[in-house]
Amino acid sequence: MVFKDINCNFYMQPQPLQYASDHDSVASVCEKNNIVTRAIYNLDKAGDANDVTLRYARESAGTEYPVIRLMPPVYPEETYTRDEMIRLIDNDKALFRIHPKNFAAPMYTWLYDWMFDILSESRTPLLVSLQELDLNDAAAVKEKYPELRLIITNTDQWLNRQYIGFCKHFRNVYFDTCNTIEYYGIENMVGLIGADKFLFGTYMPEKEPYDKTFQILFCELSQEEKEMIAHGNFERLVEVRA
C-alpha cells in the first residue's frame, strides 16, 4: 500500500535525538516506508521558511506539495496579497497552515478576513493543529464559511468527544491520523464519521511514521476505507481538489 502524508514537516538543521529531521532525511524515511507523496511544511521560524518550502516542492517533481505558513493580512511583510495567494494556489497547488497559538494568530473571521474567501472558493485545504485551535473560534468561522476545507491535524485523544462532535456538526472538516492512538480509535471514529474524513498524517519529524503506517496496514477497516485514508483522500482534497 502507498501512503500520502498530509502532515510531513522538516527542519532546516538536524535535531537532537531525531533519526530524521531535515528535508532530505525525512524524504529518505518516506521512501523506505512507501510514503510516496507528502504535503511538506517547514517548522523553522526563519523569515524565509515559506520560500524554502516552495523551493523544495518545486524541485520534487510532483511528490511534494508546499504547505505555506499563513499569517493574517495585517503586517504586509509577513503575509500575502490576494494575487500572491491565488498564484500560490494556482501555480504551486499550495496548502496553508495557520498557527492560532504558536504565532499568536487566532482563527478569527475578522482577522483572516478575505483569506477565508479565497480558500473556500479555490477549495484549498487549510491546516491547523488541534493543539493550537479553539474549537469555538473554528465553529464561528465554519458558520460563515461552510465550504472552507479545514484539516485539523495533531488531534488529541483527551479531546476526542469534542473534535468528533465538531466534525458531525460542520461539513468539510477532516482530520489527520498522526495522533489517532486511542484504543480501536481508527475503526471507531471511521464508523462514526466515515473514512472520507481521515487523511494519513505522520507529523514527522516530531513523531515517527512507523505507527501510522502500521495502523493502516493492520486496522480492521475495508480495503476501500484503508486506501481512502492512506492516499485517496489526499488525492481528492490536495491533488485534484474535487
Binding site: 535535531q15 535525538l17 531525531q18 533519526y19 530524521a20 524515511v29 523506505k32 516506508n33 512507501n34 485523544q157 483527551w158 479531546l159 476526542n160 468527544r161 492512538i181 486511542e182 484504543y183 480501536y184 480509535g185 481508527i186 475503526e187 471507531n188 519529524p205 516530531e206 513523531k207 515517527e208 511514521p209 512507523y210 505507527d211 501510522k212 503506517t213 502500521f214 495502523q215 496496514l217 493492520f218 486496522c219 480492521e220
Partner: protein, 270 residues
C-alpha cells in the same frame, strides 16, 4: 530472509517473532475523561494476537479507577480465563495497603502473577512521598517487579522524583512506564536507568517525546528497554508498529519486544 519490517509492510507478522506486552490494562467498560472504546476481553485478546502479541501483562481498569481489591480479583480471574496469555500486574493503592499486600501475598506464586502496578496520579499519592515505601520494601524482599505510571508534567508521578526513592531503595526492581512521557521525562528516565541497576524503561510514552526509537535505544543499555502498549487506553498497534517498522535490526527488536522483559522477571512467559 525477509525482515520484521518487510513482513509488516505486507500486513503480516514475521513467524517466530515473540512479543510480550508488558504494560496493558483490561477492564469491563469503565469510563474515563477521554472516550475509550471498550471491547470484550476476548476481542481485545483477538486484536492483540492478530498483531503478533503472544502475551499481555495487564492490570485492572477497575482497580486503577479506585476499586483496587475488587479489580485485582477480576484481573486474576482473567488470567484463569486466558491462561498463558493474560498475566496479572496486581494494582497497589496505598489507601488499600493491607488488602493489596494480602492479594500480592496470596497470588505471588500463582503462574498468572507477574508483578505490581502503581499509578500515583490515580491513587492521589505522590511518588516523592514515603507512602509507597512499605510496598517497595515488600517487593524488594520478594524480588517482585514494580511498574509505575510516570509523566513528567503530572506532579504526582514525575520520574525525576524517583531518584530520591531509588537512593533509599537501590535494589527496587522498577519499570518506568511511559518514560515520563515528555522529552524531559524521557531524559530523566534514561538518567535513572543508567544510574540504578534495576531500573527499566517502558518506552510506551516516549511516543510523545519527539525522540525516535532508533535514537532512544542508544541512550541506555539495550537490556533496559521493554515493550508496553498501554492498551486498552492506547491502541496496541501504535506501539507495535513503532517497533516493527523502525529502522532497527531484527535481533534488537526481539530483545525490545520480549527477551528483555523475560530476563527482568526471570521467567519465560511464551
Amino acid at each position: 530472509m525477509m525482515t520484521v519490517k518487510e513482513y509488516a509492510m505486507q500486513g503480516q507478522i514475521k513467524p517466530g517473532l515473540r512479543i510480550i506486552d508488558s504494560h496493558s490494562h483490561l477492564g469491563d467498560g469503565e469510563q474515563c475523561p477521554l472516550y475509550i472504546k471498550t471491547l470484550p476481553a476476548e476481542e481485545s485478546i483477538r486484536l492483540s494476537k492478530r498483531i503478533g502479541i503472544n502475551a499481555m501483562v495487564a492490570s485492572s481498569l477497575k482497580a486503577l479507577f479506585g476499586a483496587a481489591p475488587a479489580g485485582n480479583e477480576r484481573i486474576m480471574e482473567m488470567t484463569r480465563l486466558f491462561p498463558g496469555y493474560v498475566y496479572a500486574s496486581i494494582f497497589y493503592d496505598p489507601h488499600y495497603h493491607e488488602e493489596c499486600i494480602a492479594q500480592i501475598e496470596k497470588y505471588k506464586d500463582d503462574p498468572g502473577f507477574v508483578g505490581v502496578k502503581i499509578h500515583p496520579r490515580e491513587s492521589h499519592t505522590c511518588i516523592a512521598t514515603a507512602d509507597y515505601d512499605r510496598l517497595y520494601e515488600y517487593c524488594i524482599a520478594k524480588d517482585i517487579l514494580v511498574a509505575c505510571h510516570t509523566w513528567e508534567t503530572e506532579p504526582a508521578n514525575n520520574p525525576k522524583d524517583y531518584d530520591a526513592v531509588l537512593s533509599r531503595y537501590p535494589e527496587l526492581k522498577l519499570q518506568i512506564c511511559h518514560m515520563g512521557g515528555t522529552y524531559r521525562g524521557c531524559l530523566d528516565s534514561i538518567d535513572l536507568a543508567n544510574k540504578y541497576e534495576h531500573v527499566y524503561l517502558d518506552f510506551n510514552g516516549s511516543l510523545y517525546s519527539q525522540i525516535w526509537l532508533e535514537e532512544l535505544i542508544k541512550e541506555a543499555p539495550i537490556e533496559k528497554f521493554v515493550f508496553g502498549s498501554d492498551q486498552t487506553f492506547n491502541d496496541p498497534r501504535i506501539m507495535a508498529g513503532r517497533v516493527l517498522m523502525a529502522d532497527i535490526e531484527d535481533d534488537i527488536k526481539q530483545k525490545l519486544l520480549a527477551d528483555n522483559f523475560e530476563a527482568i522477571i526471570g521467567r519465560k512467559l511464551v
